[in-house]
Amino acid sequence: MGIEVVVEGLTKSFGKQNIWQDVTLTLPAGEVSVMLGPSGTGKTVFLKSLVGLLKPEHGRVLINGVDMVNSPERDIYETRKLFGLMFQDGALFGSMSLFDNIAFPLREHTRRKESEIRRTVMERIEIVGLLGSEGKLPGEISGGMRKRAGLARALVLDPQIILCDEPDSGLDPVRTAYLSQLLIDLNAQIDATMLIVTHNLDIAATVPDNMGMLFRRELVTFGPREVLLTSEEPVVAQFLGGRREGPIGMSEEKDAATLAAEAASAGDRPDAPRVIVPQLQPSPGLPPRQAVARRRERVLSLLGTLPPAARTAIRDTYAKDAAAPTLTVPRAGSGS
């Protein structure tokens, strides 16, 4: 089972520029969470802070009792072995073939025999659909393949916590859909805690159990997906609607005058009512996600503290689930 990640009052600045402040959230063990946010709001910085690559000035990131911000380097290195991080463009070692790249963590951290390493690596290569390319160098394959190879490398040590930095960027919609399915299937198989940082609305709508959004140097919300998906917060509504009208501007944020002018001319394109798309289910043949039952319990106990719209949405979701307990519709040519 995955490990809970507790973030408390995290604040990060580069020089005088504050990136975000006082971010507090908990990634529940084994569940899939998504962090949304317009470009340039420090989503990647947040991911890197979780693994201790960047050191925020204030706050803590607790994993198994180790604070990834202030603990001694030695503890941080030990704890990092629990992580799999998929970088934005793969961050593969340019001088090694895909096979050697994916085998790297195994060769560094385990004393396994070469034949065992080969078996594990080929398994992961097959999961991400790169069979046949294992001998190629990262420079010789497409961006999407590099991403998938990066994911395979992140998975090879059976991590308890998987972090994905924009898994969709540079991928076409079909590949993105496959990748979403792959992430859910992975969660069903290894029950790892996952955090996906993205601005892709399809992933945001179908993959996560929990969602959060970073904007204007702070965490707007974080909680069960229904909370964000039903939120009336202008930023969230604008982002999920993909509209120009709202507080998010081309350069980070808009000033009051522009906003007022927009409000005056509002209504030329009414909001389509947002519907909550059902969450993706693991492909047929895989075990059910253990996180689902845990989440249900957790969310239902939280219910009283959530806004009314979210409450109704959650009740609706679970009512539907109860009516059709096995929602797994057989999918033609299922993903992965």
Binding site: Y77, E78, R80, L85, F87, A91, G94, F104, G150
Partner: protein, 254 residues
């Protein structure tokens, strides 16, 4: 401005301390060390040999001409050999290691840094300092020591050749003045200098490579700076070490 310079210096020393500690930490990256050793040796051996012949010759000619004017021609051998072994050889070695090996190390680490390879390595729980920097620094140090031996021999032979053939010196006087003035500590200090210069070249190259500013242009600047910084440090450290040596070790001729 001043605090900025001090901060850089401090971080350079911190890296040096970290590397020194990591040298003794297991597992040792033997394969990476051999590869780097071979690479640095292969780019420095030939230039070092080619530079040391004329360098030895120039020193021999200059010293020979001076001693001739002073009427101490019989001491040419000892003087020029000491100059070659103690000063010229470690410096030639260090300049070549910094220029050929250090710049390659800096560019390699810098481009890995901006491609996030080093971050990826850290996330996988592998320390780039131990995995990449330690083998490189050890390689620059050991190549420097071995190369220093070669440059000393080639430089001395070059000096001997030019003194005997061109300046009409006598082989016997050359060799006897050599054994009258030179002693073993001269060789020790030469090798010690080479070892320390190799360490400095490796650390500075690694430091600049691990901290490039901005994209590919930053890596280019970092390479440039690493060579310049190494050169400045080398000459300063050389001055200090020479001063200390002359104070501590009594001269043989005296």
């Amino acid at each position: 401005m001043i605090t900025g310079a001090l901060r850089q210096t401090g971080r350079l020393f911190a890296l040096a301390a970290e590397v020194t500690r990591a040298i003794f930490r297991r597992p040792f990256q033997f394969r990476e060390f051999v590869e780097q050793f071979w690479f640095i040796a292969s780019v420095t051996i030939l230039p070092a040999a080619l530079v040391s012949i004329p360098f030895g010759a120039v020193i021999a000619l200059q010293v020979g001409s001076l001693t001739q004017q002073l009427g101490a021609q019989s001491f040419t051998g000892g003087a020029s050999v000491l100059a070659v072994i103690q000063q010229a050889s470690p410096l030639i070695v260090a300049l070549l290691i910094a220029g050929a090996g250090g710049s390659a190390i800096c560019a390699d680490l810098g481009s890995r840094k901006i491609r996030e390879e080093l971050d990826a390595m850290e996330v996988m729980g592998v320390s780039p300092v131990q995995r990449l920097v330690v083998p490189r620094v050890l390689a620059t140090m050991s190549v420097a020591v071995l190369l220093n031996g070669m440059v000393s021999v080639v430089g001395t032979l070059g000096g001997y050749f030019f003194n005997i053939i061109l300046q009409g010196g006598t082989p016997g006087a050359y060799l006897s003045s050599f054994s009258a003035l030179a002693q073993l500590p001269d060789l020790y200090i030469s090798e010690l200098k080479a070892l320390i210069f190799g360490f400095i070249a490796g650390i500075v190259a690694a430091y600049r490579g691990l901290n490039p500013r901005g994209g590919p242009k930053g890596v280019g600047d970092a390479v440039n700076q690493s060579v310049v910084i190494t050169f400045m440090l080398l000459f300063f450290v050389n001055m200090v070490m020479t001063g200390l040596y002359l104070q501590i070790v009594p001269p043989k001729g005296g």
